[in-house]
Amino acid sequence: MYYRQAGQFYTTYSQDSRIIPVREDRWIIYVVVLAGFCLVPFFASDYWLSGILIPWLALSLVALGQNILMGYTGQLSLGSAGFMAAGAFACYNIELRIEWMPFFGSLILSGIIAAMIGIVFGLPSLRVRGLYLMVATLASQFFIIWVIDKFGWFKNYDSSGIITAQDIVIFGKSFTTPAEEYLVCLFVCAVMTVIALNMVRGSVGRNWMAVRDMDVAAEVMGISLLKTKLQAFAISSFYCGVGGALFAFAFLKSMEPVAFDILLSFRILFMVIIGGLGTIIGCYLGAGFILLMPVFLNIFFHAVFGQAVDATLTSALEQVIFGVMIILFMIYQPLGMARILEIMQERLRKWPFKI
């Protein structure tokens, strides 16, 4: 009743090609983003900001990169944590060695470095597909971590091999409190999400989807597979690299290459699948689910049972519940959380006449 599309007419081309066509949706997004910028930094506790929101935003960005490659272009890949590491260590070295470079400059450059590595590791996609490609991209995961581990230069010859990320400084102001770091993450996420939304609905995204749906047909229609696939790998790695740099600089702050292990790649893969392949909002929802559900379960069990029950038991139980939730999700909603949102939207249109 309050949420309906009827009566919204588009009279100009710019109205017709809006990213979010429905007026109500647009308002919801405006309010959420505005609250994210203006209210959350002032009202959220430091725990919420630095323990939950910052890693969520950074990993959502990485999931976005993974989704571009897997959801939109159909290239299965398992190297996102490797590209995160590439971005994080590139950002560290740029900040360390190029003194005049502003933080956003280093962030973009580290994304570009990750993108270049992504192009190299995307080359096998021209010859192999599906699961075989996934195995081939595993190489990037291990190779990048190995290179960073092996050559001390990347870590500035630190004896322990763990580097300390520099403070984020933008226009002479250092962003070191959780609220400030959160704002940096939110800003980067907002900008990159808008760019991604524009890419996937334009010719770039249509090329990706054509390749995903049937690459032979796409080639027949004149889409260059070489260009499209490598472009997808580059852009996906760019997102992973920037996300990794944010993850390292705003969240972990000190890092060793092992932090970006294969398990993290798997988690990002799950985020994309649970969130919804080929959707932008799904990246945020999926990252939230995979990242936060174990935390909430842990808090829940400690709050309910406290010290009455052996923590070893509750810790194990949390993992069991989390696993069962993923299985149920895949059985009943294989299209991911983004699809649930879509169903809710449809139902909202009919409300209150039909539920």
Binding site: S254, Q307, Q333
Partner: protein
């Protein structure tokens, strides 16, 4: 439509669960007035995953000691309260736990954070000074934090990895009949490929080259369950000694079974403190017999404090260990040692700042920790003589005795085969610590604290 109908049923439940969880989080962030004399401590335990044996034993020991202190009237009447959080031995979860546990349910800020693991310690180490929380690394973590001028908030009361590798080399030299016999000997450092595995290398490289030994570094990619090729390489190298630097029961047991398969004598295999506990030895079976392990807190149930805890805490059914047989084992005793230092630091802090019977703040606790002086008499009073080496901390010196005891697995339990032993040249190790800390301070624009 199937998904819709399910959604209709599931959505309210999950929304309610989410809201409940969110509500549970928020009160922790809101400070409330502390009532009785309580002292809140954070317990970031790691009870699941490949490192669960470590986490359950260690944090079990800590919680048992806090329960024991509370049953005996607390520290001058101040009772321990604590909150647990599952870190899964993972840097990301550790950061989340640090933020979550920072403020306790009674509004107090935690005094101490003990991550039991180098990855977790590194993830939070730079937050300590800002939040005024002591990072108590009990025998793990960042080695150059032993320099208190650069790392005022980080301690290592159970000695760090550089002293440990020095002590191992000294032990080997004794077995070989003196340092002069070490010349030309070959040693393999077989380690997990992470910062923790590489931590001893700066000291090890220097000492072995001084002694004219040949050092071969072989790394095992985490989680370290696959070591076949590394042990084949060891067979080719034919080393005189192997130092094994592993983590997690799977990796540690695999190391010994592979050594047995390759015919490498276990009497020449020396494990790190976090590599050899009962949980690592038993799965390896006969293959483990003869393996040397270094101890910073000696296992055993004969120490008066352990007996007393067994009697009082476990007698009353309030023990934290699911299996009480693990009380007195390597990890439990190490946790006990860590918790004794917490209590001692609180006691010192109350004395120094004239707050007997009152809770102390992070800064006061830090002063108390720096004032820890574990004389043999004090250890006797506490009932842990022989379990922990006597040591004293100071403003500059944030590490423990630098001494360890060597143990050997006899197939059923550990035999203690040496007295407390330190590195061959403690001043050299100290110099290494100060150089490394100085480099860190220079890179990060830290002005070292003036201790005089």
């Amino acid at each position: 439509m199937m998904p819709t109908s399910l959604l209709r049923r599931v959505a309210p439940v999950s929304a309610a669960a989410f809201a409940a969880a969110a509500m549970l989080v928020s009160p922790m962030a809101m400070p409330t007035e502390a009532q009785a004399a309580e002292q809140y401590m954070a317990v970031p335990s790691s009870r699941v995953g490949p490192f669960s044996a470590m986490g359950t034993g260690y944090y079990g020991g800590i919680i048992d000691y806090m329960t024991y202190v509370n049953m005996n009237g607390g520290i001058n009447g101040v009772m321990f309260t604590w909150q647990e959080c599952e870190t899964e031995y993972n840097a990301k979860r550790t950061v989340e736990c640090f933020q979550r546990l920072l403020t306790g349910p009674n509004g107090q800020r935690t005094l101490v954070f003990d991550t039991l693991g180098t990855p977790g310690a590194y993830a939070v180490i730079n937050r300590m000074a800002e939040e005024e929380v002591v990072l108590a690394q009990y025998g793990y973590g960042r080695t150059d934090a032993a320099d208190g001028t650069v790392w005022p908030w980080v301690f290592n009361a159970a000695s760090h990895y550089w002293s440990q590798i020095g002590m191992k080399l000294k032990f080997m030299a004794e077995q070989e009949g003196g340092v002069e016999n070490m010349k030309g000997k070959k040693i393999v450092h077989l380690h997990i490929d992470s910062a923790y595995g590489r931590e001893p290398l700066p000291a090890m490289r220097k000492i072995t080259s001084d002694w004219g030994m040949e050092l071969v570094e072989i790394s095992i990619p985490p989680p370290g369950l696959e070591q076949q090729s590394q042990w084949l390489q060891i067979r080719r190298e034919r080393p005189d000694w192997v130092t094994f630097w592993g983590a997690g029961s799977g990796m540690n047991a695999t190391g010994m079974t592979n050594a047995a398969r390759m015919g490498f004598p276990r009497e020449r295999l020396v494990y790190v403190t976090f590599g050899g506990a009962e949980e690592d030895m038993v799965p390896a079976g006969d293959a483990a017999k003869g393996t040397f392990v270094v101890a910073n807190a000696v296992p055993g149930r004969d120490f008066p404090l352990v007996k007393s805890i067994l009697d009082k805490v476990y007698g009353a059914g309030k023990g934290n260990m699911e299996n009480p047989d693990r009380v007195g084992q390597v990890y439990w005793n190490r946790g006990l040692g860590a918790a004794v230092m917490w209590a001692e630091a609180i006691r010192n802090a109350q004395r120094i700042h004239n707050k007997e019977g009152q809770p102390v703040t992070g800064a006061e606790f830090r002063d108390g920790y720096e004032a820890i002086n574990m004389t043999p008499e004090r250890l006797e009073e506490l009932g842990i003589t022989g379990m922990v080496a006597p040591f004293a901390l100071s403003c500059e010196k944030h590490d423990g005795a630098g001494e360890f005891r060597m143990m050997q697995w006899n197939g059923e339990k550990f035999d203690i085969v040496s007295d407390w032993m330190g590195p061959p040249d403690p001043t050299f190790i100290r110099q290494l610590v100060e150089d490394s800390a100085g480099k860190f301070a220079g890179e990060n624009n830290i002005t070292p604290k003036n201790c005089s």
